[in-house]
């Protein structure tokens, strides 16, 4: 188990290093940072001074080492707009985003898991088809359309909820639901497939054959085994939730990381965009690492095929 966790950890660190290096390379190769910040007509000696100040006259490998060293010390650069630390600006926005994503993840699981289990146990009935049809609709409706429809119904027509802002708990409802529904649709579909896979296993037939009551077969044999692949998808949910916040925070004027990112892209404020990209990378790699380790812990079989991740 320790060897398994160590290999996973090594891969996670390697992925992060690749991400950082590719980010650095892409940023240096796509254009002269001096010309992006200063105007094209800036006098050559001003540009030279600028490059000396930011170390851009150094060879690439030395710039790279400086960059990595800076990141390791929490120096993610400064915002081009007001010279504030990019890291501080991003960290400042994290609580607002977490106040949406954490409840949304819980809601995703609360809707998705039972719906998937229910559909699998009633496979090929009308209830199953309706659930799966809602699931398809759930992940084909873009979140900005879902958000607009919710605003139209609950804020404009019924006037139950505020259209944006977070003055009290009612302001949280629509953003959280908008974030949670597409994920719940994916989880429902995935859980259903995982359940059906297990329901077709010989050991389930054996259990029913020897006279174990159905409720007990499901709770003791089907659910625990179906839970194993379902754990992996929760890692992916973290990624799509983070992507979802970009749209949701824009629609509901929510002062979180997603809104900061959109403004920064509009202003081409690279330090902030890069900080958020690396932040998301760290979150995703950590989430996947946690899922991998949880997976190995729940299912001992996976620990043995560690080194070469089997082709799927």
């Amino acid at each position: 188990m320790i060897a398994y966790a160590a290999i996973r950890l090594f891969r996670a660190v390697l992925t992060l290093w690749l991400l950082v290096s590719i980010t650095f390379l892409v940023m240096r190769l796509t254009g002269d940072p001096a010309l992006q910040i200063m105007s094209v007509e800036a006098p050559p000696d001003a540009i030279a001074a600028f490059e000396r100040f930011w170390g851009l006259d150094q060879p690439l490998w030395r710039q790279y080492l400086t960059y990595i060293g800076g990141l390791a010390q929490g120096d993610f650069g400064v915002s081009m707009r007001d010279g504030q630390s990019a890291l501080a600006l991003v960290v400042d926005r994290v609580p607002a985003t977490l106040s949406l994503t954490v409840p949304a993840l819980v809601l995703t699981l609360l809707i998705g898991l039972p719906a998937g289990v229910y559909a699998a146990l009633r496979r090929n009935t009308t209830a199953d088809r309706l659930t799966m049809m809602s699931s398809v609709i759930g992940y084909t409706v873009p979140s900005f359309v879902l958000a607009l429809v919710l605003v139209l119904v609950f804020a404009v027509w019924l006037q139950w909820l505020p259209a944006s802002g977070a003055d009290d708990w009612r302001g949280y409802l629509m953003p959280i639901v908008t974030l949670a529904l597409p994920g719940a649709a994916v989880i429902a579909r995935f859980t259903r497939s995982a359940m059906i896979e297990v329901l077709n296993q010989p050991y389930v037939r054996t259990a029913t054959g020897k006279g174990v009551i159905w409720r007990r077969v499901v709770s003791r044999h089907v659910l625990p085994n179906a839970a194993i692949p379902t754990v992996t998808i929760v890692g992916f949910m973290v990624g799509s939730l983070m992507a979802g916040t970009i749209i949701v925070e824009t629609v509901f004027a929510w002062p979180g990381v997603g809104q900061l990112l959109i403004n920064a892209v509009g202003n081409r404020d690279l330090a902030i965009v890069q900080t958020i990209l690396l932040f998301v990378g760290i979150c995703m790699v950590t989430a996947n690492l946690a899922v991998d380790i949880a997976y190995g812990w729940i299912d001992p079989r996976t620990r043995r095929r560690t080194v070469a991740t089997s082709p799927r």
Binding site: L152, F190, M242, L277
Partner: protein, 291 residues
């Protein structure tokens, strides 16, 4: 929405058979054919030029809500005909999604086949890239590149063309590895066929159905990604227009002129839904490998 790579391939029931109702699939196919036709004939079918302003006739309601026949879907805040803009948007959104899906499939298939052919460190490098791409929600990557290089239509299409290549790549590598174990390939190689011939003339046709199914998964997701970015004002740029673009700019008129954002929203939802329905059905019908 990023869908995990292994959900559909791994956990698939052996015997679901036909799941989608054929009538539903027919409706979906008819809808898609209509969209393709409208995209091709957008110039002929649109009643007005999509850019022409009519400031005296702003925010006119659609036909059955008190509007007139000359603007069947009403007009927007600048008096531009919503119907004409919708048709041009359908053309642009579908073209972007179509080209991007082709590009993404091309990248994925080439990377997958290269990995399967050379094995060794080349394969490990490709797998590292696939893992890296899978570890990062594409939306963030896209925004990073857009902030870096700015935006125009060609850059945007190429960027969208990287969406989902890692899934196709993983799939293509698996398919090529499986094909290498088959007798027909060793015979072809015995005869002395060059590697490119082996892959292009033999492996590709034998794996095409699976790859086409993967494309039907990718296509609606690229539509959603494109419309999401355009909605945020960071995708297709004015004076061009796209479905997400129309929703984004029409959002402010949700209370006063709801048809402006709702008409393109409906087209996005119905189109992605139709592709998904057809894709599910195709997967169940054509592709025993994924069952």
């Amino acid at each position: 929405m990023t869908q995990p790579a292994d959900t559909e391939e791994d956990v698939r029931t052996p015997s679901t058979g036909r799941r989608a109702v054929p009538a539903l699939v027919m409706i979906a196919l008819v809808w898609l054919a209509a969209m393709a036709l409208l995209a091709l004939t957008a110039d002929l079918a649109s009643p007005h030029d999509y850019r022409s302003l009519d400031l005296r006739d702003r925010l006119a309601p659609p036909l059955f809500f008190g509007g007139s026949l000359s603007h069947p879907l009403g007009t927007d805040e600048l008096g531009r005909d919503v119907m004409s803009r919708l048709l041009v948007s359908i053309r642009i959104s579908l073209t972007v999604a179509f080209l991007a899906t082709l590009l993404s499939t091309l990248i994925g298939v080439v990377m997958g086949f290269v990995a399967a052919h050379f094995r060794g460190w080349v394969e490990q490098a490709v797998l590292m890239l696939i893992d890296l791409q899978a570890a990062l929600p594409f939306m963030f990557l896209a925004l990073f590149v857009l902030a870096l290089v700015g935006n125009d239509l060609v850059v945007f299409i190429i960027l969208m063309g990287f969406y989902g290549w890692e899934r196709t790549g993983r799939l293509a590598r698996g398919l090529a590895l499986a094909a290498q174990g088959q007798t027909y390939l060793s015979s072809v190689r015995e005869i002395g066929a060059a590697p490119w011939r082996v892959y292009l003339v033999h492996v590709l046709p034998n794996t095409a159905s699976t790859i086409v199914v993967a494309m039907t998964l990718n296509f609606p997701e690229i539509i959603l990604l494109e419309s999401g970015l355009s909605f945020l004002g960071l995708g297709v740029q004015p004076p061009l227009t796209s479905l997400g673009n129309m929703v984004g700019y029409g959002r402010e008129y949700l209370t006063s002129a709801a048809w402006i954002p709702l008409a393109p929203s409906a087209v996005i939802v119905l189109t992605t839904l139709a592709v998904s329905i057809v894709g599910d059905w195709l997967r169940d019908r054509l592709d025993p490998a994924l069952r």
